[in-house]
Structures are given as C-alpha cells and as structure tokens.
C-alpha cells in the first residue's frame, strides 16, 4: 500500500484546497492558456469521451422510454380494439335481456366472429350463473349455463366490483371508478370485463379474452446508433480542426443537442404513426362490429330500439367518450391532432430534461471534473475507504429518505396510490397551503362558547410550544433545586439519594409513559385513589384538554428532572470552595453568593442542557402518543404525533410529509436562532 500516510490534521500537504489546485493545474483547465501538445490530446480525449458517454446514456434512456411508450400504445390499441367488440357484444347481451337462452344464442352467433384464440363469457348475478361461455375450459361437465363454482369466486368478485363502480359513478354523477377492468392473461393476451346493464341496473358482466398480443414495435437500433455515432464522428473531426478547448467543448455541446434532437424527432415520428394507426384500426373495428351487430340483431330478432350507437364504443375505461372516432366510424381528425400535440410536448419535455442532464455530464467530463474527482479519490483513498460504509448507509437510509420525504410533500400520495410515479400525484404547494393557510382555529358555538379546532396546525403549534416551555421550566426548576440540596456539604446518604433520583431517567421512557397512563386510569388508577382518600371525586383525566395536559406534564416532568439534576450537580461540584470562603470573608450574603458565584458557574453547563432538552421535549413522541394519545379529540397532540397520525392512521403520506417538513423548518429556524444567541452570549 502506498499513499497511506495518516496525516496529522494540521499538516499542509493534505490540505484539500491545495490538492484541488495541484491536480487541476496538472490537467490544464480552461483559462490556463494554450495547452501544450500533450495536454491538448488530453482534453480532446476528455471531450470525446464525455460526449460518447453522455450522449450514449441519454440515448439509451430515451430508447428505453420510447420502447415503454410503444409498448403502452400497442397495449392500448389491443385494449381499445377488444373493447369495441366487447361493447358491441354487451349491447347485444343487453338487448337480449342479460340472461337466458337469448343471450346464449347471441353468444353462439357471435362466436364465429371472434379471431382464433379469443373467447367470451357472460356472467349473470342472479343465481350467480355462468350464462354463456366460449372459454376452452368450459366444456363437458363445466359447460354453460351453470352455477359458478367455488374456484370462480374472483370472477364473481370482479363482477361485484364493476357493479359497485357503476353505482358509485351514477350516484356521484362523475367518473371516479373504473367501469371496465382490463388485465393481462398469463398467455400474453388481455382480459377485459364490462358490466351489463338492463333497465338501469347491473345484472351481469361480459368478459372478453383476446388472443396473445402481437409483439410491440421495437425502437430501431440503427437509428439509435446513427444518432449516437454521427455526432461523435463530427466532433472527432472537429477536434483535429479546433485548436482551442472552448471551441471544441462548444462543438461537442452542439453535437449532443443535434444527436438528441434527431432521436427525439425519430421517436416522435414513430409514436405519432403508431397513435394515428391505432385510431384508424379502431375506426375500422367500430365499423366492422357495428355491421356485425346489426346482422345479429336482425338474425335473432332483437329489439332495434334504442338505436345502436357505435360512437359510444369509443370510450375510456370510465366509459367517458373519447371522441377519437365519430359515430359513423371515421377518425376524428381534430381530436387526434390535439392528442398528437400533447404527445409532442411530452416528448419535448422528456428530451429537454434528458438533454439538460446529459449536458451537465458532458461538461463535467469534458472540462476535467472526472479527472479531478478521480485524482482526489485516489489521493485520499484510505480515508474514503474507511468512511464509505458509513456514508453509504447514511446516504441510503438517512439522506435519501430525507429528500424523498420532501419530494413526497409536494404530492397527494396516500397508501392507496403509493405505486404510482410522482409526476402523476404532483400537487405542488397544495399541502403546504392547506396546512399553513388554514386559520380556522376558533369559532363561536351557537351558545356563544368558544370551540377550538384542535386539528388546526396553529393550534397544534401553540400547544407544542406551551408543552415545551412548561416542561423545560418544570424540569430545570426541579433539577436545579434538587441539585442545590444534594450539593450541601456533608449531607448524609447523598450517594443513595443521587442514585434513587436518577432512576426515572434510566427507565425506558415508553415504559414510563405506559405506567403513568395506568396511574391516571379513571377507575383503578392510583392518582384517583389518592384523591378519593382525601374525600374527593376521581377525575376522568383524559376527558378535558387541561387535565389531559396535566397527565403528560406530570409524566414528562418525572422523566426529565434527573437529567437537569445531574447536569447542575456536576457544574456545582466543580465550583472551587475558596470562592465562597472569599465571598464570606468579604461579607457577601447568601443570596449574593448565589447570584454572583453559583449561577454564573452553572450557566456553561445549563445552557447546552436547556437547548438540548427543548429539542427533546419538542419531539417527545412517546409520552404524548402513549399517555393521552391526543385525547380528548386531538387537543393534546403535539406536531410530531399529529404528523405521525396523518401518515400512519389516515395514510395521507403526502400531507404528513408536508407537515413534517414544516416541523423540520421550525427546528432549523430554532437551531439557527439558538446558534446566533449562544454565539452572542459567548462573545459578551
């Protein structure tokens, strides 16, 4: 191992600033004048490698995005095509009454229409029956009509889900719940399910399984290579012409933009063609299905009123008409163009984002950032090796969650939509506005009394501040008084008192909290026993905000005085006794001794202890959470327990994250103020 000399902190060679300038001087940064031949080759290589990597990575990601988009377009195409035929069939089943022989006859006729590998079935809710089925497994014993078997419960559940969705949407007059479910089949096909309504109520469900999908279009590899290698080649040529590094970097930036732009327009073209193609195919399907349905209606003598409206079949999974296909079965050009426009801006945004990141990478590599970073890492590799494990852990489990939490605070993420990407849930500052903009703290009830809105942020903040101040004052007073008593010279049994009085601090505080909760129990709690012993009535402590506050105050006071006592005692014992003797000789009274000697001596120990205990109390989760649980009606909640309840009882993750971010802001503000104040007092 070389390069491993442990550096004493003060030695000059290890100075990070010196290191940086050393290496950068070696590698020739911009502004270091005309580079010599060797340095020129070095920066040329750097710029080319930078372009190679940044453009390559950006294109690779763009390719991935395009492949994903194409995949979803082809899935959507298949879904919409099969949805059209499903709706056509559903129309017929509806006209046939939803169950009975008529339905079976319709399905029989329809069957011939289906492409190979697909199948339909109709489920009627009355009697939980499989009315008709062309699924390959429903033959022989299991041929329709029959009752659904026990293993087919998911089928029934799906139907009930759809029924509930239709009813909810109708009640709310909106489209909140999916009225058509689509899922992938193991074989590669899709299974679509839609409810059947007869005379306004859902009586059953039709399902259509499609044949395995055609493989989605793959983005072309040659285009990718072309967009990658051509700008690179151009830049390589330029590197022999351009003499200055600045020019070459500019050329490489242009090459990057050109390469990405070219790929962007290629992907837009491909996607656009696919989207347009989908509309044409769906329009064709609508026409074909509509003809077929007319034929079946004629053949089976079904009611032709209300008129068949194939335009309705062009709808999304909430059954809202998309308007992409006209009722006559023609592609609706203006709507499709609007959609293309949306697509274009989406692709543009993605490409701009990728381009920005790629540009940063390019400049970082091209201007020698990697070189310098690598040099720094090599220089300090032992140190980094020693820190790496801890740092990785901290990054993954402390810093990443922290920033993730802040990002979460701008979304309306809940337990139920946790899987979705952030961009779909983005609500900007709405959570913050909701929390900080809500000034509905107090209102007057009808009988004139004041009613607090305990869930309001400002009420909780107020309560937290009151809670912190009363606790710290109580803790400091008790601790200081006890320390002063214990500090009396030649006091008998002092060590025993000391150990016994520290015990409350030594107990795990969640246990303390639960013990005190038990002691304040209305019926059996010992506190009420004591009150009754003196002839009073037991209180139900958790029923009014004030008594509830007293219980947590008692608990936390009991918990926190030993710390203050130990700190003060330590400081008191370090005061030299000669000071007091001298003061007495000078005729100082006891009070004068206290204010002139004892208090100043206590300050350096007490100030940090108070600062620390303010933060502890502010964040004292266990006591509030376990003792009062916020009772009555959230009036004794502090900020941190309230945030926890939003996150893990109401599952509003985004909202709770915003709440916690505000708490972090408050703590940050506090620590800044405290720093300034303590610096000022130190200077004074």
């Amino acid at each position: 191992m070389r390069n491993v000399v442990p550096q004493p902190p003060s030695s000059e060679p290890g100075n990070p600033a010196a290191l940086l300038t050393d290496t950068s001087g070696l590698n020739g940064v911009p502004g270091s004048g005309e580079p010599s031949g060797g340095a020129g080759a070095l920066y040329r290589g750097r710029v080319l490698v930078g372009l190679l990597l940044s453009l390559g990575a950006a294109l690779f990601i763009a390719q991935g995005l395009l492949a994903k988009a194409l995949d979803s377009v082809s899935t959507e195409r298949a879904d919409r095509q099969s949805f059209v035929s499903l709706r056509a069939l559903e129309d017929l089943v509806q006209r046939a009454g939803g169950s009975g022989d008529a339905v079976r006859a319709v399905v029989d006729t329809w069957k011939t229409q289906l492409p190979a590998g697909s199948a339909v079935r109709v489920v009627a809710f009355s009697g939980i029956r499989l009315e008709a089925s062309t699924f390959p497994e429903d033959v022989g014993e299991r041929v329709a009509p029959r009752r659904l078997s026990r293993e087919e419960k998911p089928l029934y559940d799906r139907g009930q889900r759809l029924r509930a969705a239709v009813e909810t949407n109708r009640e709310e007059g909106g489209a909140r719940k999916l009225e058509v479910e689509a899922e992938a089949l193991p074989g590669g096909g899709r299974l679509l399910s839609a409810p059947v309504e007869v005379e306004g109520s859902v009586v059953g469900m039709v399902e259509l399984a499609t044949a395995p999908l055609a493989a989605p279009l793959e983005p072309s590899l040659p285009t990718l290579l072309l967009c990658w290698l051509l700008p690179l080649a151009l830049c390589a040529v330029a590197s022999f012409v351009a003499r200055r590094q600045g020019v070459l970097v500019a050329v490489s930036v242009v090459a990057l933009v050109v390469g990405l732009g070219a790929y962007g327009s290629y992907s837009l073209g491909t996607l656009g063609a696919e989207v347009r193609g989908t509309q044409t195919l769906v329009a064709e399907q609508v026409r074909a299905m509509s003809e077929r349905a007319q034929a079946v209606m004629a053949e089976r003598q079904l009611a032709t009123e209300p008129a068949l409206r194939p335009g309705d079949w062009d709808a999304d999974a909430y059954r809202r008409p998309l308007g992409l296909v006209s009722p006559e079965g023609q592609v609706n050009e203006s709507v499709v163009s609007a959609r293309m426009e949306e697509l274009r801006s989406g692709v543009g945004r993605a490409m701009t984002g990728l381009g920005a990141v790629a540009l940063v990478v390019l400049l970082f590599i091209g201007l020698g950032g990697v070189h310098r970073t690598a040099a720094t890492v090599v220089e300090n590799r032992t140190a980094y090796a020693y820190i790496a494990p801890a740092m990785v852990g901290m990054l993954v489990l402390v810093f990443f969650p922290f920033f993730y939490g802040i990002a979460l605070s701008f979304t309306d993420s809940t337990l139920y939509n946790a899987g979705q990407p952030f961009m779909n849930l983005w609500v900007g500052l709405r959570n913050y506005v909701e929390i900080l903009g809500d000034f509905n703290i107090v209102k007057r009830a009808q009988d004139g009394s004041l009613v607090f809105n305990y869930l309001n942020f400002y009420y909780t903040l107020f309560f937290t501040v009151v809670w912190t101040i009363t606790n710290v004052v109580l803790g400091v007073t008790l601790g200081l008084v006890l320390a002063l008593i214990l500090n009396v010279d030649k006091l008998a049994f002092r060590p025993i008192y000391r150990v016994l009085l520290i015990l409350p601090w030594a107990m795990p505080n969640y246990i303390t909290a639960l013990i005190w909760k038990g002691m304040f129990h209305q019926q059996f709690g010992v506190v009420n026993h004591i009150i009754r012993m003196f002839g009073g009535q037991g209180l139900s402590w958790y029923d009014t905000p004030f008594t509830s506050f007293l219980t947590v105050l008692a608990t936390n006071g009991w918990l926190s005085f030993p710390f203050m006592m130990v700190v003060s005692l330590g400081a008191l014992q370090s005061i030299p006794m000669e000071l007091y003797e001298a003061a007495r000789v000078d005729g100082a009274s006891r009070w004068q001794q206290f204010t002139a000697i004892t208090l100043p001596a206590l300050k350096p120990a007490l100030v940090p202890a108070v600062i620390l205990s303010v933060v502890w109390t502010f964040n004292q989760f266990n006591v509030i959470f376990l003792v009062t649980e916020g009772e009555p009606s959230h009036s004794t909640e502090i900020l941190i327990t309230q945030a926890y309840k939003y996150a893990f009882q109401l599952y509003r993750h985004g909202y709770a994250a915003a709440y916690s971010t505000i708490i972090f802001g408050i703590l940050l503000l506090y620590s800044m103020v405290q720093n300034r104040v303590s610096r000022a007092t130190e200077a004074a």
């Binding site: 720094t376 059996f524 940090p608 971010t661």
Partner: protein
C-alpha cells in the same frame, strides 16, 4: 444553603429529599407491586363497598396483598413475551455490532485524515440529527417495506437502527480518537505497519473504553426504541419487547400484570447499564451540543 460550607441543620433537607425520592420512586414501586401481585388488575388491593380510612391508605401503599411470581412465569411461558425479548436482543446486538463497526471506521477517518469533504461530512452527520422522525418514517417505510420487502423483519430494523445511530457514535468516537497521540501511529508506520494494521492493533485497543461506551449506547437505543418498531413490525411474532409491552395494555386488552412483569424484565438490564454509563452520557451530550 447554596454553598457547601453551611452550618444549617440538615433535617429539613432530608425531609424534602425523602418526600421527593418517594415521588420519584412511587411509579416504579407501583409497577413492582403489580408485577408481584399475581393479578392483571391495575389496583393494588380490592376496595370494599364503603372503605375505611385505613383501607383507602392501604389502596395506595405499593405493597401487594399476596406475593406471587406468577405474572413473571406466565409472561415468559404462556405469553409470547420470551419471543419478543429474543427479537429485541437479536436486533439490539446486531445493531451494536454493525453500528459500532461503521462508526469506528468513519470516526477514525474523520479524526486522522484530511480529505475533501471532511467538514461537509461531519456537518452532514450533525444536521441529520435534526431531521424529524416522522419525515424520515414515511420514506423509510416505503423503502424498507414496499421496495426491499423488509417489513416485519429483524434485519430491516437492525439496518435502520445501526444507520441512525452512526452520527452520534461518530461524534463521540472522533472526540476520543483525537485525544490519542499520533506519535504512536507514526512510529508504527516507520516500522512498516499498514493503516489497517494500525487501526486494528493500535487505535482500537487504545480506544476500548470509548468503543465500549458507544456500543452500550447503541445497544440501549435499539433496546428502548419504540416508534420505528411499532411502525415496521406488524406481525405479532415479530414484535420487539417495547411493542409487545404496549400490546398488553393497548386497545382493549388490560393485562397490567403481564405489562408490569415484562417492564421489569426489560428495564433491569438497561437501568444497570444506564447507571454505569450516565456520567459519559452527560459529558458526551453537553460537549456535543456546545460544539454544535
């Protein structure tokens, strides 16, 4: 009264101290009484219909009507408390080993090397102590439970505890490493020892007291932690002792006897550890906050 050379009589101070000590000890005595009462009730005695003054006093004196260790035996045999204790022990020991290892190496680097990012790193550790738990809790829940599938697993909790204990341990250990003279290492370096060898054979043995204290702190923190454990462990079999104790007296179950017995079992080791450690704790905490 405020200095140590006073000629005042001591007995009023003793009266005060005894009263206050009783107040401080009462909850603890009360738990011990319930634990040894052999019953699940919160009350120490059963009060008759119209209690006399003596019976009322009796109801608050922490002395069980009959002594019985049955709560202890049943909590360990009939209730899954032994299993919960085992979970807690495994998690705390794992946390200690992993956390102390990570903290030692990092603190050594921070103390002995000058490198780019050293100050930033130390500051980052310090600032991380300020992040509110609830803000970290949601993302940690998503990462551990939804992405890594470590919900209700000892490993997940161990990793989280070990990582979150790093900053405090690093600050404590760095302070101690700084006091070890560098001449020792330089001499060893002359003899041709590698940094790894110096770290393991010279620094760590010299820093043994600080490492031991840090280890005990890590252990105690993990042993006492409640919120994370309550959030991540949703299967009864994977509860840690704190979550399990809450289970006895939370919601609709009121098994105060089991709770009290369990509390005593859980508390005894930490109370002794704590009494042994408190002087380091005080100096560590106040020193750290003065620097910060």
């Amino acid at each position: 009264m405020f200095s140590r050379r006073d000629g005042l009589p001591h007995w009023p101070l003793h009266v005060l101290l005894v009263l206050f000590t009783l107040f401080a000890l009462y909850p603890i005595l009360w738990v011990i009484t319930i634990a040894f009462s052999g019953r699940q009730s919160l009350a120490i005695t059963t009060l008759p219909e119209s209690p006399t003054a003596l019976e009322r006093v009796r109801a608050i004196v922490p002395w069980p009507e009959t002594w019985s260790a049955s709560n202890f035996t049943s909590v360990m045999t009939e209730q899954p408390f032994g299993h919960w204790l085992f979970n807690s022990a495994v998690i705390s020991l794992g946390t200690t080993v992993v956390g102390v290892f990570l903290a030692c190496t990092a603190a050594y680097a921070f103390s002995r090397f000058k490198f780019v990012g050293q100050r930033t790193g130390m500051m980052a550790f310090l600032v991380s102590q300020m992040f509110p738990g609830t803000l970290m809790l949601i993302p940690l829940y998503i990462i551990l439970v939804q992405w890594l599938g470590l919900g209700s697993s000892r490993l997940g909790l161990m990793i989280v505890y070990a990582t979150t204990s790093i900053p405090f341990s690093v600050w404590m250990l760095k302070g101690y490493f700084d006091t070890i003279p560098k001449d020792l290492e330089e001499a060893a370096l002359m003899e041709g020892a590698s940094v790894g060898k110096i770290f393991w054979t010279i620094i760590l043995p010299l820093a043994k007291p600080a490492v031991a204290v840090t280890a005990l702190f890590s252990f105690m923190t993990a042993w006492n932690e409640f919120i994370l454990a309550a959030t991540f462990m949703d299967q009864e079999a994977m509860y840690t002792a704190p979550v399990g104790l809450r289970f006895f007296v939370g919601g609709y179950s009121q098994q105060w006897g089991y709770f009290a017995a369990g509390s005593i079992i859980v508390s005894i080791p930490v109370v002794f550890l704590f009494l042994f450690l408190q002087k380091y704790l005080v100096s560590g905490l106040t020193a750290g906050s003065v620097k910060g």
